[in-house]
């Protein structure tokens, strides 16, 4: 069962090092080639073959997407805060870029429910607005 082995390896090695679910989702989406929609991970493909690696990444991506989409707004805002802290970039700059460019839109896997895809992007827009609001509040009342 190279697929199961590839999946377990992906979860236990690469994904376990990422501190939050949103980070795992962004990472998995980044393994997808923009032009073809195929997933690629050199180490995984070397160990288990390109097909098993591609399928394992696709499954893990879809799972991470549904998990993040199921978060309540409160949990998503906390998750987003954790993610921004983990990037080591200036949080306010990151927030502005995310609000302007909406890079999280490329994190939606193919063939998922259109409504859940909409819920995901809508909740992220709201979570970003909430974090901006909270930061504004804490600046006014330090």
């Amino acid at each position: 069962m190279p697929l199961q082995q590839a999946y377990d390896d992906l979860v236990n090695r690469s994904l376990s090092r990422i501190p939050c679910e949103l980070g795992r989702l962004i990472y998995l989406a980044s393994t997808r080639e923009y032009n073809t929609g195929h997933y690629y991970h050199q180490g995984l493909a070397d160990r288990f073959g390109p097909e098993a690696a591609q399928k394992a990444l696709e499954i893990a991506h879809r799972q991470a997407f549904y998990k993040v989409s199921a978060y309540s707004l409160e949990n998503l805002a906390e998750e987003l805060e954790r993610y921004l802290e983990s990037t080591k970039e200036e949080p306010l700059e990151c927030l502005r870029a995310w609000q302007k460019l909406e890079p999280y839109r490329v994190a939606v896997p193919a063939d998922v429910s259109a409504t859940v895809a909409r819920l995901f992007t809508s909740n992220l827009r709201l979570a970003l607005a909430i974090l901006r609001f909270r930061r504004g509040q804490s600046r006014q009342h330090p």
């Binding site: 309540s72 998922v112 259109a114 409504t115």
Partner: protein
Amino acid sequence: MIGTTASLLAAAALLLLLIAWIRADRALRDLPFGSEEWGPGPDKDAGLNGCPPEFVSQIFSGRDLAYVGRLNSQELERQFHHERNGVALMWVQQTSAVVQRIMRHHLEASRRSRDIEFVTEAGIFLQYAQLRAACALLFVGIGLSGAQQVRGIALYADRLSQHIGQVAGEFDASLRVREMKGARPS
């Protein structure tokens, strides 16, 4: 006198419905990047994956609204209603489209079948009519009072759409078995 009052009430109800319809329609148009953002692509059925029930419950739940309310920001509350009503309206559109597709397939299968059970067919069509009515009610209700206020109707519509899909699916599967048996040389 009663006739005049009834007419006025009916006119007021119609006006209210019209306002709700316009608001819902505007909410759909105002969605970022248009209402077809995640709609079906060149493959018509590709974007029509059904929405899992736990997400339907989440979309129409009041939990997120309560959280946004605790933040004491009118702007955030306004944005929340705009975003969530847009998602809810999209779910209504998608559910309606998915069930229409199921019914189209079922009608084609029924035409091929030689032994149609009237009671089963009538049951499916009755539920389909109920679902269409629920979708229309949801469309107006979301525009009028917001997604959280029509949660019960949404959950009912979701159960109906799943039931229709299940019954039509079973009918189609049994028809395929009969057709395969009929195709075998005797």
